[in-house]
Amino acid sequence: MYRLTQIFPQKALGSFVVFLCASYLGIGGSATAQTSTDQLSGKLVITGASTLAPLISEIGKRFESLHPKVRVDVQTGGSSRGVADARQGLADIGMVSRAMKDEEKDLYAYPVARDGVGIILHKDNPVQALTDDQVVAIYMGKITNWKDVGGNDVPITVVNKAEGRSTLEVFLHYFKLKNTDVKAHVVIGDNEQGVKTVAGNRNAIGYVSIGTAEYDESQGVPIKLLPTGGVAASTETVRNSTFPMSRPLHIVTRTSPVELAKTFIDYAQSRAVHDIIKQQYFVPLVD
């Protein structure tokens, strides 16, 4: 499967399908305006945050279908790579899954969607809420038993993310922790692994993207999202920015975008892609 997609990239297949559609329309009579007047062509290289990559690549596919001569190439490597590549001109557009830092003010940043990081517990855990101080104490290893925060008399399993993941950055940033202070029992890679780890351990506490957690919860996976800072963790509170542990997802460029990049950025910010954003369990900026 993997090898197949390498030999026949989905993009090529996609554009072939588009070509078929377009030729069909052409035969049918008046070709639609977008195919006949469209003169955009070229290749857009987009690199950066792995959180954003699936979303941007889906948007890219739809963009390619609107502009058949355009190729959108999406590569991952973390927000820092997105910034570095955009700066050095290695990529036309960088993907950054966090708020822009002060030293990144030289870049043009365009928010596309929001993502929230939520604390998750096993569904059978009687604990319904944790204060920020309790979460910090748990992650620093000062509280090691659920009975100290109103749960059963069982030891807590602390699930942390691997170094370099942006979810970890969001989490550490919000709780003002340093990764050296975290006393973890399990270190995981992606969100799904986090959900599976917590679902398989009644005494675990972890944090994942709210989109992922909400979807898995709706599919019957035995986990629950805890409120953070008194605000319920849901896509609603992430959208209206009341949920504190959330982050904007940006695409960035080095210079003010023109032509192809500009059209793509406008498209990625438009309402036309809201269904893709929701499909990827992120939250569109406006409803």
Partner: protein, 292 residues
């Protein structure tokens, strides 16, 4: 006379051809290994220049984002997981082969062998997934948190068992029949025959099997990544989570940049050194005694 001399000539040139072909092949094989090592060194060079070799073994912890690069806990994690699984899988695998060759009726031995071959073909991520959803919660019930060195050892054992079982099976099958018949004619009981005649005759094959399974145990990544917990620490007991060098690379490579990325290549280099050390010690143990 003429024809015979031309025959000799052509035979020599064919031999020469083969000889050079083989030399070329050997050259390619060794060049690939050298290229891999060179590549690892080149990629690890920036971090080696910034922090030096020593700090990879003396730093307080592994937090590359904050500039700490201690690899020793992961080296121990790799060694413990490897040693544990090899210690369990080797006797099991050899006994399984003995059962297959000398105790099981043919009707049972054939499907049993197919089953072991099937076990060898299952992708490691499937073992890892099974470990994550079945084994880890089970261990978590006995001794939280669950993801642990023990889970890693058990999953690795199941993964390398077919390697040693099939290798041992093949080498036992290669023991000359006259040895076995001779032992039987002397009236040796079956177990005495296996211990006194078959094992010494098959030891080079068994040893190769052990080396192969050890290599697989060190190199395994995906399953270990899923069941071991990946906490960077030197385990003090079987229930402590560990991170192996391979899991470290797989876990962090996608997001690593700069010195962090170079430090991951350094993990690869340490892994390479570990394998070289094992090969040398295997060579030393077997010197003149097993292959000779």
């Amino acid at each position: 006379m003429t024809s015979s001399s031309s025959n000799t000539l052509s035979r020599w040139s064919t031999d020469d051809l083969l000889c050079w072909l083989l030399r070329g092949m050997a050259m390619i094989a060794s060049t690939i290994v050298m290229l891999i090592v060179t590549f690892l060194i080149v990629e690890a060079l920036p971090v080696l220049r910034h922090v030096g070799v020593l700090r990879f073994f003396t730093d307080p912890s592994w937090h590359p984002a904050e500039g700490f690069y201690n690899l020793t806990p992961m080296l121990w994690g790799t060694l413990f997981a490897m040693a544990g699984s090899v210690l369990i899988a080797t006797p099991l695998g050899i006994l399984s082969a003995v059962f297959c060759q000398y105790y099981a009726p043919t009707r049972l031995a054939r499907p049993y062998r197919r089953l072991i071959e099937l076990l060898a073909g299952i992708p490691s991520v499937v073992y890892g997934f099974w470990g994550l959803v079945v084994l880890v919660p089970l261990i978590g019930e006995i001794h939280p948190p669950g993801p642990s060195l023990l889970a890693g050892i058990l999953v690795l054992t199941i993964m390398i068992l077919p390697t040693i079982a099939l290798m041992a099976d093949a080498s036992l099958a290669n023991v000359p029949q006259q040895y076995v018949r001779g032992a039987a004619a002397l009236g040796l009981p079956r177990w005495a025959m296996i211990r006194g005649v078959v094992f010494p005759a098959a030891k080079s094959g068994l040893f190769t099997g052990v080396i192969l399974e050890t290599g697989r145990a060190i190199g395994e990544t995906m399953a270990i990544l899923m069941v071991c917990g990946n906490v960077v620490q030197t385990p003090s007991n079987l229930f402590d989570p560990i991170r192996t060098l391979t899991a470290n690379i797989a876990l962090e490579m996608a997001y690593a940049l700069g010195d962090h990325r170079a430090a991951l290549f350094m993990s690869g280099l340490v892994l390479m050194a570990l394998i070289i050390a094992l090969t040398i010690s295997a060579e030393w143990i077997s010197r003149g005694r097993i292959y000779g």
